[in-house]
Amino acid sequence: MSTIKIDPLTRIEGHLRIDTRVEDGRVVEAWSRGEMFRGFEALLVGRDPLDAPVITQRICGVCPVSHAVASCKAVEAALGLVTPANGDYLRNLVLGANYLQSHILHFYQLSALDFVNVEDLLGYSGSDPVLRELKAWAGSEVASNRVLPVAPFLPKLPGDYPSNTQWNLGALAHYVEALEIRQEAHRMAALFGGKMPHTATLIPGGVTCGVDVEAVENFRMRLRRVKRFIENVYLPDVIAAAGLFPAYAGIGRGVPNYLSYGVFDESGSTWLPAGILIEGRFEPLDTARISETTATSYYDQSGSLHPTRGEIRPHPEKAGAYSWLKGPRYNGLACEVGPLARILVAVAAGSKPIGGAVDDLLKESGLTADALQSTLGRHACRALEALLVAQRMEEWLNLLQPGAPSVAVYASREQGKGEGLTEAPRGALGHWISIDGGRIERYQCIVPSTWNFSPRGEQGEPGPVEVALLDTPVNPAYNGLEMARVVRSFDPCIACAVH
């Protein structure tokens, strides 16, 4: 028996530590530990309700739009504001643009280096200008007497990187291209969001910027460029990775419960549907069944509480605690959230277009439907979702009505309670607000990575990532590379998870 620790687990958002116990070359126990806490929910108390979307966006620099949307919806529910159709579609477009930047960033900048042999670059002799420049740079770094040459690409963990030079070089060139494509997606988000990261225009009642025809066409042109990248580069790369690392279709299976709140408003309902799959059984979402435990978290709290009653009393020395994350549960069950959950829920809810797209993906990647619940399946569903969202965004652009309002007339209220549900790129996101005397009386967020990276609960039951790591085959010489691949497939965001 041995233990392997990954601390810090880099190339994610935030501060994460993973501890594991390994027996006979396999992980038999795992602990996911969030290592940073700020106290957002406490500092919102006593503030003006309209501060909430401004402040909560700053929980996360990677998915601020999702927090803005959840927060606006919570405040709108509490104050009785109804967004006009333009407001919904503009939000969908800003949120959608950030999905694209986040998914692309996640695959290339955060995950790809686990699957690519960077050293192949030094032997490159072709004529691609991007690769030639990269090689020249890397070569001069290696030749120098620098302390850490070719950073941030080296040093890396030792491991079973592919010997397929074409893949390695292609992925590196795409790493560079992806930097520019995700930046383009942020320009799109800024066209209607004001700026990125941290939007300005999303406020309770809608979006302040209105529908400017020139901005719409500007957005459309950039969307085409990003969509082409997803079709021709991102999705094919994920499918190629599935071919090179077939074992990961069987590694990283998590808990059998998948949750989605539904996202992208379209005339009263959401395009991607809400629901929960419990061991393959579909049920409609009932948020009364959600609770958060702090059994093994660095907080004192009176039992497992619904977010409308959640407390925030940090206790870093608490005995038996090992994480700053709380443990969300649905009817007592740990649930996985994210693109995989959204796709599985959409298919179970009977969405024919998404079902068809999944069938195509399975055919092209050689994955079975069951194998989607894996490390590779998470990457594949994320890439597929990027394409589906990009396609849908073209339709939302066409539904915008120039001249019609994009924000409701504001009406103040002294009291109210509201629930704001949406989906961040990483999964189900909920904000709960209660207002009294015109000020925030209570505020709670349950964030996607809180679900996925949850520590053990009341009965000692592990969270989704702690389950997904079990049985991962481990080569002791690789210092945890295999486990890092599993963990990164969830797209961790720890600033979000703890907040």
């Binding site: 700053r58 990677v62 302390v147 941030p152 560079v176 004001g194 302040t208 940090p314």
Partner: protein, 304 residues
């Protein structure tokens, strides 16, 4: 290295223009970029109580673009979001960098001075890592509202005792050149331009809040395209209205930044052009006072 002098001059030209520097600085900036590219000025980037928004903003840099920044210009010894190194390899990379010293230390996020366990990296409290890293740095650059002034984590009740990097260094008795680049997040041109300045020209001229005067010397309001509306007292009273946003709570009148002339995300937009109020994210007081909301829509009518 087969990157030509022309490449540096081209990038320098764009940067000089973006920073509003005079053309006389062009050769100096080109030289600075060349030095950055030859790795004589490595950067160690640490994240405390942060949201990674400043890092994401850095990746939105237009000139030089993100690929050139990440590879040839920034020499990122370690960056939690970008480094291939993970776990033991990451810990070792940080250790080697700190042992060698002589880097620019960039810090993103606040420092939990009141509850050191609220931020840990590799089993070390962030306060301690920051102190070790700063004591070997050539200069420290606090990027963003949190590192510069405590930011949102330091807003009351401030459960973790979150503070600015400057306060942590003062407590530890560390003397090192330090500059603040506030903003939530700061514009990528503010980060890149000032890093070049620190590397080549030295610490830029700073105001009383340690902000570079060149970047933060201008009142946003004075260059605002709605300035004429303000003077004519044509005010927006509801979100979405035309006119100056002052009465909705816009803090452009007290915020020092060049957003109004620069624009964000390649210049496609910025807060006020998107008809949202300026929330004063570059101000030292940003988000600190709950009695001073971003929007004034909930004020009683007689006080508006």
């Amino acid at each position: 290295m087969n990157i030509s002098r022309r490449t540096f001059l081209k990038d320098a030209g764009l940067l000089v223009a973006a920073m509003g520097m005079g053309p006389a600085l062009l050769p100096t900036v080109a030289e600075a970029l060349e030095e950055m590219a030859t790795g004589r000025a490595p950067i160690l980037w640490l994240q405390g109580q942060s949201c990674s928004g400043c890092s994401v903003s850095l990746l939105n840099s237009e000139s030089p673009g993100p690929a050139d920044l990440v590879t040839r210009y920034l020499s990122l010894y370690f960056h939690q979001t970008l480094s291939a190194a993970t776990g033991e390899a990451a810990k070792e990379a940080m250790a080697r960098a700190i042992e060698a010293g002589g880097y620019i230390l960039v810090v993103e996020g606040a420092v939990p001075l009141g509850m050191p366990e609220a931020c840990r990296i590799a089993e070390e409290n962030f306060v301690s890592l920051l102190t070790r890293a700063a004591s070997k740095a050539k200069a420290v650059v606090s990027v963003g509202a949190c590192a510069s002034f405590g930011g949102i984590p330091a807003a009351p009740p401030n459960l973790t005792g979150a503070a600015a990097v400057s306060e942590a260094l003062e407590r530890a008795g560390i003397q090192v050149p330090l500059i603040h680049l506030p903003g939530c997040p700061p514009h990528p041109a503010w980060i890149v331009g000032n890093l070049v300045q620190v590397l080549k020209v030295g610490i830029p001229e700073l105001d009383e809040f340690r902000r570079p005067k060149r970047t933060y010397g201008q009142l946003l309001h004075e260059q605002c395209p709605y300035f004429a509306n303000y003077q004519a007292k044509k005010f927006a009273l509801h979100p979405g209205d035309a006119g100056c946003l002052f009465k909705l709570g816009c803090q452009g009148v007290v915020t020092h930044s060049d957003c109004s002339s620069r624009g964000w995300n390649g210049g496609v937009n910025w807060c006020i052009r998107g008809r949202a109020v300026c929330i004063g994210c570059a101000r030292p007081e940003f988000a600190k006072d709950p009695a001073f909301p971003f929007y004034r829509l909930n004020e009683k009518p007689e006080t508006v």
